[in-house]
Structure formats: C-alpha cells, structure tokens
C-alpha cells in the first residue's frame, strides 16, 4: 500500500479549497505523506491575500449559512493544520511566471517546483487526486 498521496489543486474557489485541504489533512492525519501541487487558479488557495477571500461559485452564496452551521474550519485554519501535519505545498513555477507572482506572495513554508517535480513524487503515490 502506498504511503503517499498526491494532489493537484488547479482551481481557486472556496469549494475547491475545502475539497483540497479536507482530503489533504485527512490523509496526513492517517499517516500519509502528502504533497499538493498548486497550479493556475489553484495558486489562489495559498496566496497570502487571496486565500482569505475565496469565492463561492456564482449562485451558491447561500451556502455560507451552512458553512457556519456545520462549524467548518476556515481555510486559513485548515491550511495551518495541514502544514502542521506535514503536508507539503508546491507552487507551480510556470504559472507563477505567467501571473507575475513570486514566492513572497504566498504563505510561508511553500516550495516552488515544476511539473516534473510533482510527477516524480506522484509516480509512487496512490491515490493521485485532481481538484
């Protein structure tokens, strides 16, 4: 059984963030090694300012009530927990270049890498998930 989980985060909305970080923290809490590769809009999820203002899909704003009721942790809280549990965050270099972003635009503790870095890791991972 593989001890590695690989996740690609390619979308930047609030729902995307929950899908990514819930699975990542759950996996890390189950003694898995976890890496998340953030690419394109996914970079939003670890952007210092962006991560605090993630949007819900258009027309789904009424779910904000449900989030409160279910006592769901905030994204910054989940991110902190994920890092505490050892989840590794990798920001896609190419996307950063395209968007004019530097490592300082992101939360502390991330790494910057390319597709091959991720593929090398994902080679031995099971499952590999894409959000």
């Amino acid at each position: 059984m593989s001890k590695k989980v690989a996740i690609i985060a390619a979308n930047g909305g609030l729902f995307d963030a929950y899908k990514v970080f819930n699975i990542a923290t759950a996996a890390a809490a189950s003694e898995k090694e976890v890496q998340i590769f953030f690419t394109f809009e996914g970079l939003n999820l670890i952007h210092k300012q962006g991560m605090n203002h993630l949007e819900m899909p258009e027309g789904k704003e009424h779910f904000s009530e449900g989030f409160k009721k279910a006592n769901v942790p905030s994204i910054p809280e989940l991110v902190e927990m994920a890092q505490e549990l050892g989840v590794k965050f990798i920001a896609c270099q190419m996307t950063m270049d395209v968007m004019g972003l530097s490592k300082e635009d992101f939360i502390d503790g991330i790494e910057v890498g390319g597709a091959v870095t991720f593929l090398e890791y994902a080679k031995e991972a099971s499952p590999t998930l894409t959000f």
């Binding site: 759950a26 003694e31 942790p73």
Partner: protein, 75 residues
Amino acid sequence: MNITKTIDATGLSCPMPIVKTKKAMDTINSGEILEVLATDQGTLSDIPAWAKSGGHTILEQKTEKDVLYFYIQKA
C-alpha cells in the same frame, strides 16, 4: 475499561475529529485507550477507517444522546 485520554470533538465537522484523534493518539502509548466524543455523523465511518489505516483497534462504539463515543486502543 481503563481510559488513558479523552478528546471532545463534538460540534466539529470533517476533518477536525480525525485530526484531533490523530493528535491525541500521538500522545499515548501502544496498548492504551483513547476515548473520542463526536457529533459529526461522518465519524461513524471515518473513525473506523482511520483506525484501520493505523492498525488500531476499536474496542467499543456507542451513541448516547446524539453523541458518538469511540474507544480506540492504540496499536
């Protein structure tokens, strides 16, 4: 049953009960028992699945007044 530690994850939703359980489990020794309280119905399948992945044993599981109780013996 000799409970070493209790954690209260009532009112919390996924993945928090699992994260709290894992953290508490890290602080006890092999063979010792952790009591987990939760209200998230997802834990009914999540905690057994989590225990299985770590080789831990669920000695008992019960529901009392909408609160779920799990007694997990560390592997």
